[in-house]
Amino acid sequence: MQHVCALADVPVGEGLRIDSVSPPIAVFRTEDDEVLAIDDTCTHQDASLADGWLEDCWVECPLHASRFDLRTGAVDAPPAKLPVRAHAVEVRDGEVWVALSDAVPHLPPGVTYEAS
C-alpha cells in the first residue's frame, strides 16, 4: 500500500485528486465517513471526478453526468461507457493508504499518463 494523503485533507462529502500517482486517482469521503478511491479521470473526456458530485456511494462526473460506483468503478449510463478502476483503501491513524489496482486504466481519448 502507499500513502496518498491525510484523512483531514478530504472533507466529508468531497473528493480529492491525488496527482502523486499516475494516472491520478481520486479519494472520496462519503457522508457516512467511508473513504473510497477510484481513478480520477472520467473515461469519457478529460474531467476530474474529484470535482464531481458525491452522493451515497457514487460520484457524478461534473461534465456530462455519467455516474461511477465508488466501490467497483462501474459506470451507470453514457456518455461514459467504460468503468474506472477502484482501489483498495485503508485509513490508519488519520492517514489514507491505497493499494492501486493493477488493471489497465480506461483513459479517455487523447489522455495518456506514464504508469507510476
Binding site: S48, D51, P62, L63
Partner: protein, 379 residues
C-alpha cells in the same frame, strides 16, 4: 433644435424632453450605461429563488444577469456570460439547476458561488485560477423582499439612492416598514411587454392629469384623482378611498384584513412611490403592488408587476381577483396610453418634444435628472 414649438417662458407650459430622447438608440445606450448599469436595479423577488440553484435571468441595461442562490442560501448575481468564449450560461427566464451552472458550449462548469469547478482538460491547465475564471459577480442587496443588483464597480450608496427615494416620498423608512413588504407573498404576477420607451412609463406613473380620462375604475375608488393633481408630489400624502368604497378593489368591495402593524391613519389610503430608475410601488391597506421595469430597447419595456398579500391570504387560496383586477386594468390603460404615444416620438412635429401642464411640472425634475445623468460629468 427647432424652437417654434417651445412654450413661451412664463406660460403655464414647460417643455418635455425632445422626441429623439425616446427613440434614439444612442440615447438608450447612454441610459443603459449611465443609469441602469450604474445604479441599483431591482431585478427579482427573493421568493423567485426558493432554493440553492434556483435562478432567474434578467436584462439590466444591455447585460443579461443571472441571479441565483448559493448552497448556503445567499443570493448571488453574475453576468450571464461564460468566461471561456462568452456563450450564455442560462437562456431561460427562470429555472433550477441541481448541481451547477454548466455552459452548454464546451461545458465549463461553475458552482452556485460562481467558481469554476470543472472543464474539459482543466487538470492539464493548473495555471487557471478557478475563482478568477469563475462567473463574474455583480453587487447584490436585498430589500423589501427584492433582489437589487448593481453592475457598477463601485455602486452608489443604497441608502442615499433607493432608500432615499422612499424617504423623500413617505417622510421616513418607518412609514414603509409597517407594510412588511419583505414578508408578504406573491398572490399574482403579471408581465406586460410594452412597446414604449421606459421614460414614457415613468412620466405616466408620475402624473394623474390622465386619471379621470383613462382610469374610470381607479377614479371611482380614489375620487381625489379626478382633480388631476393626485401626484406623488406631497410628502407622505396618501389618497383617501371614496366614502362608499370599502377596499382597493375593482368594484370598491371589501378587501382583506389590514396588514398588521400599519398605522391606523393608513387604513383607507393609497400611496404611490417611484424609485428611480425603474420601480413603482403602490401601498394600500391590505396589499402592495410592486412594479419593476426592464428597459429592453428604446421602444420596448417589459414591466413585471407583483401583487403582494399577507401570507395567509395566499396560502389559504383566497380569491385575489377583485384587487388584482383594479390595478391590472390601470396598468393596461396606462401602457396603452404609452404605446399610443411612442410612435409620435419620431414625428417631425414632436422633434422639440411636447409640453407639461402645471399638474405635470414636477415631471421636469425627472427630465433634469435624466439629462444630468447623461451629461458626461453628471453623477
Amino acid at each position: 433644435m427647432t424652437t417654434t414649438e417651445e412654450p413661451v417662458t412664463g406660460s403655464s407650459l414647460i417643455p418635455t424632453l425632445p422626441g429623439s430622447a425616446y427613440v434614439d438608440p444612442a440615447v438608450f445606450d447612454a441610459e443603459c450605461e449611465r443609469i441602469f448599469e450604474d445604479m441599483w436595479f431591482c431585478a427579482a423577488r427573493e421568493s423567485d429563488l426558493p432554493k440553492p440553484g434556483s435562478f432567474r435571468t434578467v436584462q439590466v441595461g444591455r447585460e443579461s444577469i443571472l441571479i441565483s442562490r448559493s448552497r448556503r442560501g445567499e443570493v448571488r448575481a453574475f453576468y450571464n456570460v461564460c468566461r471561456h468564449r462568452g456563450a450564455r450560461i442560462c437562456t431561460e427566464d427562470a429555472g433550477e439547476r441541481a448541481r451547477s451552472f454548466q455552459c452548454p458550449y464546451h461545458a465549463w462548469t461553475y458552482d452556485f458561488d460562481g467558481k469554476l469547478i470543472a472543464a474539459p482538460n482543466l487538470t492539464k491547465m493548473p495555471d487557471i485560477d478557478r475563482v478568477e475564471y469563475g462567473l463574474r459577480r455583480v453587487h447584490v442587496r436585498t430589500w423589501l423582499g427584492y433582489v437589487w443588483v448593481s453592475l457598477a464597480d463601485a455602486p452608489p450608496s443604497f441608502e442615499a439612492t433607493v432608500q432615499q427615494e422612499v424617504v423623500d416620498r413617505l417622510g421616513t423608512l418607518d412609514n414603509i416598514a409597517g407594510y412588511d413588504v419583505a414578508n408578504l407573498s406573491v398572490g399574482r404576477r403579471i408581465v406586460y411587454d410594452v412597446a414604449a420607451n421606459w421614460k414614457l412609463i415613468v412620466e405616466n406613473f408620475m402624473e394623474c392629469y390622465h386619471c379621470a380620462t383613462i382610469h374610470p375604475e381607479l377614479t371611482e375608488v380614489l375620487p381625489e384623482f379626478a382633480d388631476g393633481l393626485a401626484a406623488q408630489y406631497f410628502v407622505n400624502h396618501g389618497a383617501e378611498f371614496g366614502e362608499d368604497v370599502s377596499g382597493f378593489t375593482i368594484d370598491g368591495s371589501e378587501g382583506f384584513g389590514v396588514i398588521p402593524g400599519l398605522e391606523e391613519d393608513r387604513d383607507r389610503k393609497y400611496y404611490a412611490i417611484t424609485v428611480k430608475p425603474q420601480v413603482f410601488v403602490n401601498l394600500v391597506p391590505d396589499h402592495v403592488i410592486f412594479h419593476r421595469m426592464y428597459p429592453m430597447a428604446a421602444d420596448r419595456t417589459v414591466v413585471e408587476c407583483d401583487w403582494l398579500y399577507l401570507p395567509d391570504v395566499v396560502e389559504s387560496g383566497r380569491d385575489v381577483t377583485a384587487s388584482v383586477e383594479l390595478f391590472h386594468r390601470v396598468n393596461q390603460q396606462d401602457f396603452e396610453a404609452c404605446e399610443r404615444t411612442q410612435p409620435a416620438m419620431s414625428s417631425k412635429l414632436y422633434a422639440a418634444g411636447g409640453v407639461l401642464v402645471p399638474s405635470e411640472h414636477h415631471i421636469s425634475e425627472f427630465h433634469e435628472w435624466v439629462t444630468h445623468k447623461l451629461t458626461p460629468t453628471g453623477g
